[in-house]
């Protein structure tokens, strides 16, 4: 496939820095980056951690920034094109990354890549996602306006989570037998549509 890593000026610079990093440290760095890649808008490293990294890798603030961004970019491109590990390694060596560093990238990609692709497939733009389904079946015996009811009613609890929050919003909906049957029939139609896709 066509190379998606072009040897731009910033890539050249980043490569120089990366090549100088100790292999073990680099391996741990790339593993950490790929773990957090699916979280949009979240920093991979806290400010404190970045300061420690600067010392550990003997890089100043800008250099570290460049290294982290470039590593993330390489991995994002790998995900986007769903590249094969060997192809990735070749492309990286093509921009003069040392073979040992290129191997770190391709090995990490080979082991953690598929999981990352799955996670990203499930990332969507929808503001809320259904995360939890719970229910309760009640037998209503009476209410203010009606005695001797004995009518079954179900309460469906839908736990919705906003993409950028940890808090789950609970929506409670009440159904009598007919209403629940109507819902079920509609869900069956949706299922039919999903089945027709495969």
């Amino acid at each position: 496939m066509a190379s998606f890593i072009k040897e731009t000026q910033s890539i050249k610079e980043a490569v120089t820095f990366i090549n100088a990093i100790d292999e073990n440290k680099f391996s741990r760095l790339i593993s950490r980056i790929i773990q957090k890649l699916h979280l949009k808008g979240e920093r991979t490293f806290s400010e404190e951690e970045e300061e420690k990294l600067q010392a550990a890798l003997s890089l100043n603030k800008q250099a570290l920034s460049l290294v982290l961004e470039t590593a993330a970019f390489i991995l994002e491109q790998a995900v986007y094109h769903n590249v094969k590990p060997t192809s990735l390694q070749q492309q990286l060596e093509g921009v003069h990354l040392n073979p040992d560093k290129a191997e770190v990238f391709s090995q990490t990609w080979a082991s953690s890549g598929p999981e990352l692709v799955e996670k990203l497939k499930h990332n969507t733009f929808a503001p809320k996602k259904l995360e939890y389904v719970g229910w309760q079946l009640n037998l209503q015996m009476a209410q203010s306006s009606q005695a001797r009811l004995k009518s079954p009613s179900a309460v469906l609890q839908l736990g919705l989570r906003n993409e950028d929050s940890e808090v789950q919003e609970n929506v409670f909906v009440d159904f009598n037998h007919q209403e629940l049957l109507d819902l079920y029939n509609k869900l069956e139609i949706v299922q039919g549509q999903l089945d027709s896709l495969t």
Binding site: S144, S145, V190, Q193, L197
Partner: protein
């Protein structure tokens, strides 16, 4: 139930409510036209409509003093509200009429009462009164969409189906959310499970016993 059984108690319970008691004492001065006017207003009130204007005009056009009129209206309201609380499967017209006869309510008025309780507007009346009862919101509108994401900014080839749902509830709230396919299966399974449990529940004998 046969007419020759011993009725244990009136549909009004063991003790007759005071307003019904005083109503029956005052009904003898009421002619059918006035009775029907009041009945119409009382039914309106049960349905939740504002009846102040109607009641005012009834009070003004009648010769009956206001205090006695208020006893009559209160009594009629109570009779009807107690009667419609009980499902028609439990309270039969015969029993209802007998109970009212025992309160010495004139036969014509009993017929008028019965036409409200057992007539074809009963269902609408029930629906109107139960609207005020506490309940969790119900589903008023349900819309859905099945999407397949072909490509995203993170993946050139995603090919991931997902379901988008939109629910409008009876309390006015609106929820739009995505349902991953696995969660959709869970939802569908659970709804089917509740339906099965409901069916089992409805078949059980305890629900068939008439009370």
């Amino acid at each position: 139930m046969s007419a020759s059984h011993t009725k244990d108690s009136s549909f009004l319970g063991g003790r007759i409510p005071p307003e019904i008691d005083s109503m029956s004492k005052n009904l003898k001065d009421v002619d059918q036209e006035l009775f029907r006017k009041i009945l119409k207003a009382v039914v309106s009130a049960l349905e939740g409509k504002d009846c102040r204007e109607v009641m005012k005009s009834i009070a003004e056009s009648s010769t009956i003093p206001q205090e006695r009129l208020s006893h009559i209206v209160a009594g009629m309201y109570r009779v009807l509200s107690e009667a419609i609380r009980i499902p028609t499967s439990s309270l039969k017209q015969e029993a209802f009429r007998e109970d009212l006869k025992e309160l010495r309510i004139p036969e014509d008025f009993i017929t008028d009462f019965a036409s409200v309780v057992f007539g074809n507007r009963r269902a609408a009346l029930d629906a109107a009164t139960s609207r005020n009862d506490p309940h969790l919101p119900t589903l008023e509108d349900f819309k859905w969409r099945v999407d397949v994401a072909i490509s995203t900014s993170s993946l050139a080839r995603a090919l991931q189906p997902s379901v988008l749902m939109q629910m409008k509830l009876s309390d006015g709230s609106f929820h739009r959310f995505e349902v991953p396919v696995s969660k959709f299966q869970e939802l569908r399974y659970n709804v089917a499970l509740i339906l099965k449990e409901m069916n089992d529940l409805e078949k059980r004998n305890i629900l068939k016993i008439q009370d």
